[in-house]
């Protein structure tokens, strides 16, 4: 899932200062699962914003709503009347959701209410960790299903750097050495010999370095290029 974390209320208040009627918009996807921007968080952030404005003696109208997913037009259409009524939208979705709302409503100011952190997992209740860098060409199969691009702080694909101590990264003792994890995992599944092969070349053009990416599935498209 995409993992996000709420912004500070003071920062949100400053971002939204020019607007009087604000819609706080939640997303029922990843940010609901990581407890950053779902229906419950919409209620919490909206309440905190109302309190913050009224402590200053300002009156702002804060409306709340949450849709199934902010990254799909089908769900965004549902909130058209609500968006038309307000001066600005505070989206608690990931960066993709925020831009999706902005694209659909080109004349409406849209602001992010959360910081999008990474693609990750729920490591344990209350702790989320990064697992994927969305490089566009998954190579974890060569590394015992441990991603060197994400788990190694230096994103080294061809071996450890030598800076690790006791299985921990030299960047921070809080971070496991990615290459220690790769070694342990390959050993556990009897594939240590994989380390003897040269690392596959990474095609960075498939990552963000190749520009803003797009996936086209003709079998799924309804609108064909010729039908306009």
């Amino acid at each position: 899932m995409i993992v996000a974390h709420r912004k500070n209320i003071q920062d949100l208040k400053a971002i939204l200062a020019p607007h009087k009627k604000i819609l706080v918009l939640g997303c029922g996807g990843c940010v609901t699962v990581c407890l950053a921007g779902g229906e419950r968080e919409v209620g919490m952030i909206s309440s905190a914003l109302r309190i913050a404005y009224r402590v200053d003696g300002d009156e702002h109208e804060i409306h709340e709503t949450t849709i199934e997913r902010q990254c799909e037009n089908q769900f965004i259409e549902e909130i058209l009347p609500k968006v038309q009524e307000v001066d600005a939208v505070l989206s608690l979705a990931c960066g993709a959701g925020v831009q999706s709302i902005a694209e659909r409503y080109p004349n409406k100011p849209v602001y992010p209410g959360v910081d999008t952190k990474f693609i990750g997992i729920l490591q344990e209740q209350g702790i989320w960790t990064e697992k994927c860098a969305a490089c566009g060409q998954c190579i974890v199969g060569f590394y015992g299903a441990v991603c060197p691009l994400t788990r190694c702080s230096k994103a080294q694909v061809d071996g450890p750097c030598g800076g690790a101590r006791n299985g921990k990264c030299e960047v921070s003792p809080e971070i496991d050495c990615g290459w220690q994890l790769i070694y342990d995992r390959l050993k556990a599944i009897g594939q240590l010999d994989r380390l003897l092969d040269p690392a596959p070349l990474t095609d960075w053009s498939k990552s963000h370095e190749g520009g803003c990416r797009k996936v086209v599935r003709e079998d799924q498209r309804v609108k064909t290029p010729t039908s306009g």
Binding site: K21, M44, S47, I51, R54, E59, H60
Partner: protein, 164 residues
């Protein structure tokens, strides 16, 4: 006597005196979110014991403080409540194992949000007590009432939320 003095001065021009009298007249509204198994029974016991405590508190019973939602607290503050007491079982004594421990974490989160929003964190406090501690309940209410009187009325008082 106090009331007639207050009315007399309120009709006058001296705004400093008027403000001072209004401060003196301030009676906070405090919400006590009490666990059914401990604090609610303790409040009951306080009554049976004839323990005296300020009448500023409104008790709301929860089946367990684990039922506490951050929204309950925030919405109450939005509606102008001056202070909130969350009262759960002694640590290790929760009827549902860890409801009170979870409630404390939620209270901590709301206190963070309050600080960010510019509302005094001291208006919200969590306490742990058993159903046998009637006097403790009375003491908690006494202490919180004093604290809120010193802080003064909530800046959100008498202002109705728009939207929602």
């Amino acid at each position: 006597m106090a009331l007639s003095l207050q009315v007399f001065y309120l009709e006058g021009e001296d705004s400093v005196v008027k403000e001072r009298l209004l401060d003196m007249a301030f009676e906070p509204k405090i919400l006590a979110l009490c666990c059914h198994y401990c604090a609610y029974a303790a409040a009951d016991l306080a009554g049976s014991m004839r323990a005296q405590y300020p009448p500023n508190v409104r008790v709301l019973r929860l089946p367990c403080t684990g039922k506490l939602d951050t929204g309950y607290i925030l919405r109450a503050f939005e509606r102008g409540i001056d202070g909130i007491i969350v009262a759960g079982c002694l640590e290790g004594g929760c009827h549902f194992q860890e409801g009170n421990l979870r409630a404390r974490k939620r209270v901590t989160l709301v206190r963070e949000l309050m600080a960010e929003a510019g509302l005094e964190q001291e208006r919200l406090e969590m306490f742990n007590l058993s159903s046998a501690q009637g006097q403790t309940f009375a003491d908690i209410v006494e202490m919180m009432t004093g604290r809120i009187k010193e802080l003064g009325p909530s800046p959100l008082r008498e202002k109705v939320a728009v939207g929602g």
